[in-house]
Symmetry: C2
Subunit: 502 residues, 2 copies
Amino acid sequence: MTAESVLEETFSSISPAEFFYRNKQMAGFSNPTQAVYTVVRELVENSLDACDTARQFPDVQVSVSNPVSDEVVITVSDNGTGVPHEQVPDAFGRILYGSKYSSRQRRGTFGLGVTMAVLYGQITTDSAALIHTRPTNNEGREYRVLIDVQKNEPIVDSVQAKPRETPGTTVTIHMRGDSLRSRERIIEYLRLSAVGTPHAQILVNITDDFKDSFGPYDELLPPLPQDNKPHPRSADVELLRRIIKSSPTKSLEELLVNSFQQLGRKRASKILNFLNFSSRTNVSNLSRKEVALLSDGLRKFDGFGRPDSSCLSPIGKESFVKSVQASTNSEIIDYACTDPSDCDGFPFIIEAVLATGEMFPTGKVPSLYRFANRVPLLYDPTEDVFSKVIRQLNWTRYGLDSGMRVAVYLHFCSTRVPYKAAGKQSIASACNISEEALTLLRYLGRSLRKRVRTKRNAGRAERRMRKFESYFETIIESAASLADIDHFPDSAHMVKSLFEVE
Amino acid sequence: MTAESVLEETFSSISPAEFFYRNKQMAGFSNPTQAVYTVVRELVENSLDACDTARQFPDVQVSVSNPVSDEVVITVSDNGTGVPHEQVPDAFGRILYGSKYSSRQRRGTFGLGVTMAVLYGQITTDSAALIHTRPTNNEGREYRVLIDVQKNEPIVDSVQAKPRETPGTTVTIHMRGDSLRSRERIIEYLRLSAVGTPHAQILVNITDDFKDSFGPYDELLPPLPQDNKPHPRSADVELLRRIIKSSPTKSLEELLVNSFQQLGRKRASKILNFLNFSSRTNVSNLSRKEVALLSDGLRKFDGFGRPDSSCLSPIGKESFVKSVQASTNSEIIDYACTDPSDCDGFPFIIEAVLATGEMFPTGKVPSLYRFANRVPLLYDPTEDVFSKVIRQLNWTRYGLDSGMRVAVYLHFCSTRVPYKAAGKQSIASACNISEEALTLLRYLGRSLRKRVRTKRNAGRAERRMRKFESYFETIIESAASLADIDHFPDSAHMVKSLFEVE
């Protein structure tokens, strides 16, 4: 098996750069339209992450130009941390270069996004990516970076000092693409990015035909999520073995207590007892079978509380409501948020805003706007777990009728979003994500029904009041004419006060 | 940008094994049900490829057992080439290890499938993969292989001689999974695998409750597809630069003629003239700009003929029709096949069978069975290009009414299938794939309409004949009674012969 044709071919390692060069569509580069969209997206995502880390209100500028027929130039500039100079080559010229064990929510995670943009520019136009960055406490420099695809190594074509007033980064990618067809998607993406990051301002200029600014919708700088210890349920044998390797002299109990959240001394020794391990066993003495047994025990133990969610950064009720309202000029029906849950030990929260407004289309199901770690997801909606769940509900039962314009904004926050593909367009139906989303949507459905009823009742009361008014007028007029008076009191005011009696 | 939190974290390369360990769902491991299905699929795919290379009628045996609660053991055995011993560690223990420049159709391509199965087994049960293989002209050996995830390197836990009567390979994976829920999918997958590879026999045993055998449906061993030179349209700057590097002393014209299909001396010099290149330029003297210009010129030149399709292996009319018919006991309406086309220079063909039968469900659109390089695709149908295209047509116009049971089998063959994700579940809408599929489906739609009309007309003729018969009988009887005869000729036979007059 596998080595099918070893007799005739040479087999060897394929570098990650080579893999994604061969399979561009998996990283969001299916066609020239999507390619432009994906490059904008990856650069903006990185910029917003950099601003969050710098604790700055993001000021991101996006420009898309089209100097010659099918060549597109994309420039994204930010006021974030800047990239430390020693990191620039790898961060932009090595596919799958990233933080080893990050365990807090952020937009980019794979070390794949911005390098794919560099790679795509290079293979379609043979141009280097231009990176102008100034880290805090350092000078500004401009780099021209390419990738050696076969080796997956950065090639720094040139580097020179170039002043920059404040810290931040500007990246320019020359690529083949279709700026005209990708235009609507880019605008939609940036508009929704400002909704997902309400404290950001995003300026956009597309071929000088379209200029606009989105956000900020809120003045609140959200707290930076914390790096947490892993949840014991995420301890597959691979992770356990790594942890053991890093502290080979510890006792089993110490190791558990020090390495994981949710494991105090009491609970750790309870689990170890149950699994017939001695708490004092030196971890380096564990056999492979015992490590597997321990992993299985931690995974199956159902006494853990909700995972620590300080590593997550939900948009939050106030900000989310503000940004949806302001960006769509809509009326908010409700906001809701699940309790922290976990998928294989990785914590997640889903939050949602239900809104109604003229800009949303009518339909049997509310329009769905999907977000993952504050990033709007635009492509591949039908396979997404949220799209599936929203269609499972009978929205007519919740009072949605065909003339209504309702939308749901769903935001999935996690330290590990189970994207279906490296292009990060849709979320897989992993663990209990769909159950949690379903509970959330049912809650919002009930809010919708309440709203519809209140409106309907308000309408009924209004109609009753009008009728009362007309009767009252007749009575007052008749009474006045009987009493021979020609000025009589304002009946409307009287009726209104009648209906205001609690 | 990018290096968001360099201040607090260490950044480094993430090995491909680490990437897919972190993002299992991208490789088809979203949940325990899909995981079992994916492992079966990857092993069977590899086995069928190995048998094709060996020019053997595939005899593949699949066994799924469930020794303890949530542990599943999957064994797949074949009579293929066997794996050369020096290749075993890398082929099973290194993610992204594969043939560097394969340019013929095969099922597996990424060097990702079987190693992902090994990795998944390892991280869920800490078990090594068991590989028992005997290459042609060599002895049989059994290996226990694990993967060093952080380094992406194979670990050979043990190896020992173990006789095997004939060449071939048996792989056993211990993993966590759900064999009960994945059962239907596995059976469906194997049933359809025998349709896609009609000369294969596939035996299956699932936990001793289900035992069956699928195929062979045909006695024909398909020709092995050829490795072709690349199409000039696939010459992005990366490929051009590699080709130049491998023959730095050639002239530009020589390089083009020797390296690409579709480029004879005449056409090559025509293109070079048009781009203002001298045919005699030594390729190592080309500047980066010139390479980009050449790539652009080759990509845009529209005078190429259809790509050479000897690198492809369509199932073929006779075999495809036989396998669909035999596996479903259905009636075939038509078979059709597109001319060879290309996507960024990679040739593709789409072939299709339209069938009707009791086992297909009714509906407004025919049931769709998708195949890519003979492999059935079962998951994620809605985002697939074929699913989108089949819904674009108004099948009622082609005579499909709600009571009919019709199915379309669509087979995409290419040297590079643009899968949307590494799990290889659906094909992206790249290049002109959807246009080609649409043309093919319209053709089949017309076949369906013809068939429906013929049936309807046949019904009408039948009814008319019956009426004629009854008139004839009356006339004959009256005539006979008038003539005082009590035996008269068989009218049905007479009428039938009347209707047979052309």
